[in-house]
């Protein structure tokens, strides 16, 4: 085996179809991980703001529900493996809940009546502020 490493040509000749498949699978795996983990848009954390204060920052790499007491009442924020959303809100319009899952860094959901906002954070911000 050690010998094979010293003779690259021999190495290529000795590899069977299955070996090549393993190599291919490995390359694909690396490519996939590169795409998902190293892209700028990958979000790693969710920042919850209450009023003008940062309430908490949680890793997205978990499954949990966070209860936040806003101006109107209790809101429930769900975090689930890389994404976050307003699950429940005491507000009348429910715009925040209808926003659904946030998945990319820079995405935000704001509940104006209850004064709670979510923002996904990543390695780099795709923009400094959002025009809406």
């Amino acid at each position: 085996m050690l010998n094979l490493l010293h003779y690259p040509r021999l190495l290529i000749q000795e590899l069977r179809v299955g070996d090549w498949l393993v190599v291919l699978a490995g390359l694909l795996c690396v490519f996939y991980l590169f795409q998902t983990l190293w892209s700028n848009e990958h979000a790693t954390k969710v920042q919850i703001r209450l009023g003008d204060k940062i309430y908490a920052t949680y890793s997205l790499n978990q499954q949990r529900e966070v209860h936040v007491h806003g101006k109107l009442g209790d809101a429930v924020i769900s975090i689930a493996q890389g994404k976050a959303r307003f699950a429940k809100s005491p507000c009348h319009t429910q715009y925040c809940v209808h926003q659904g899952w946030l998945t990319r860094a820079g995405q935000a959901a704001i509940c104006l009546p209850n004064q709670i906002s979510l923002e996904l954070l990543g390695e780099t911000k795709p923009y400094d502020s959002l025009n809406y």
């Binding site: 003008d52 926003q99 104006l112 959002l130 025009n131 809406y132």
Partner: protein
């Protein structure tokens, strides 16, 4: 063995040193978020100490709150008088308009705003019309929360027929009256832009060189961030994500009017807060309009106000007249997304946008 330990120590010190240096050169960026103006106000300041940045940011927020209290179109504001909540300055003016054409005293800056808003309203052929407060109220958009409203078509017709116009208002020597008692001011499409201009003016006077101010989605840039211009994302009207980003250079402002922030649904139809003064009904052929405004000459209407105002006539105007509506204000950077999610971008704007999804199809307007 000993040699190995020494080199291990050396590497460890280098790594610790690198972390230490990195923490010393932490980006000098200050960020604050508050709920003022009935919306979210977001201020970023770059290149100042945290203490100074928070000082000037709080001053800006205080100015916004004062302006909000004075210009509130429908809510009595809590005053410090024993008589309890009082009408805002704008509310008192509206009450006076309703009573008849007796002039009342208004503050110099409100007089200035009304003169400016009147000129802009004329330029927009009346499509930007802050005098239609009665219509906006009838549609239920002068509330904190919007319930579906079934309107009385006859009431809408009679309100349109009463034809409230900015030009009905007569202003002289800081007094104002209206020739039409149906004029009811709602500066919802003007005040945020005005606040942006006030804030930018204040920050520049305080020698703050780099800041980004976002009032409920309308954004104004001062200077830049690092050695790069400030970058803003434009909200997709139907998805919880940005549709595109662009660089906002020093002194530029960006504003969007959309049907997705203030609206209600009734029988599967969307009714948004942007009302066509000609029909009295919400405009339903547009999802969003974004305008990008360069710095303006000192004597002119400033970029903040334009970023707030100009998106409205483009939103309401028939598709074939959108470019004309923008050019009436000298605006050649704009984007329209219509009710079928078709995207139209002016030629100049197309060069500035970076789409989030590379496959976006859009039509370039000449």
């Amino acid at each position: 063995m000993r040699k190995g330990a020494i080199s291990f120590l050396f590497v460890a010190i280098l790594i610790l040193g690198a972390f230490f240096l990195k923490s010393c050169f932490k980006e000098p960026i200050y960020h604050s978020q508050s709920y003022v103006f009935g919306t979210l106000v977001d201020i970023s300041i770059y290149g100042e100490t945290d203490e100074r940045a928070s000082l000037v940011a709080n001053h800006v927020l205080q100015d916004f709150q004062d302006l909000h209290n004075r210009l509130h179109a429908w809510k009595p504001v809590a005053g410090n008088k024993p008589s309890g909540p009082q009408l805002s300055e704008l509310g008192q003016l509206n009450a006076a308009f309703q009573k008849g054409n007796q002039p009342i005293t208004i503050s110099p800056d409100l007089a200035k705003m009304l003169i400016d808003a009147t000129a802009l309203s004329v330029k927009s052929n009346g499509l930007f019309n802050p005098a239609i407060g009665n219509l906006i109220g009838t549609w239920g958009f002068q509330r904190d929360e919007f319930n579906p409203v079934i309107v009385d078509d006859n009431k809408i017709k009679s309100l349109v027929k009463s034809n409230p116009c900015m030009t009905d208002i007569v202003i002289s020597n800081n007094t104002a009256y209206s020739n039409n008692p149906m004029v009811k001011l709602d500066l919802g499409g003007y005040a945020k832009g005005y606040a942006l201009d006030i804030a930018a003016d204040y920050l520049r006077k305080q020698h703050v060189k780099n800041a980004l101010i976002n009032i409920g989605g309308n954004i104004m840039a001062i200077g830049q961030h690092h050695d790069q211009p400030w970058r803003v994302g434009i909200q997709h009207p139907r998805l919880p994500t940005a549709i595109a980003t662009l660089d906002l250079p020093d002194g530029w402002a960006i504003g969007t009017s959309g049907d997705y922030q203030r609206y209600f649904m009734l029988n599967g139809q969307r009714y948004c807060h942007i009302i066509d003064p000609r029909s009295g009904y919400p405009a339903q052929h547009t999802q969003s309009v974004t305008v990008l405004v360069p710095p303006q000459a000192h004597s002119q209407t400033q970029a903040g106000v334009l970023s707030d105002v100009v998106s409205k006539p483009i939103f309401i105007e028939a598709p074939e007249n959108r470019t004309k509506a923008a050019l009436a204000f000298g605006i050649d950077n704009f984007m329209v997304i219509d009710d079928k999610s078709n995207i139209f971008v002016s030629k100049k704007m197309a060069q500035k946008l970076h789409w989030i999804d590379s496959g976006v199809k859009f039509t370039t307007l000449p």
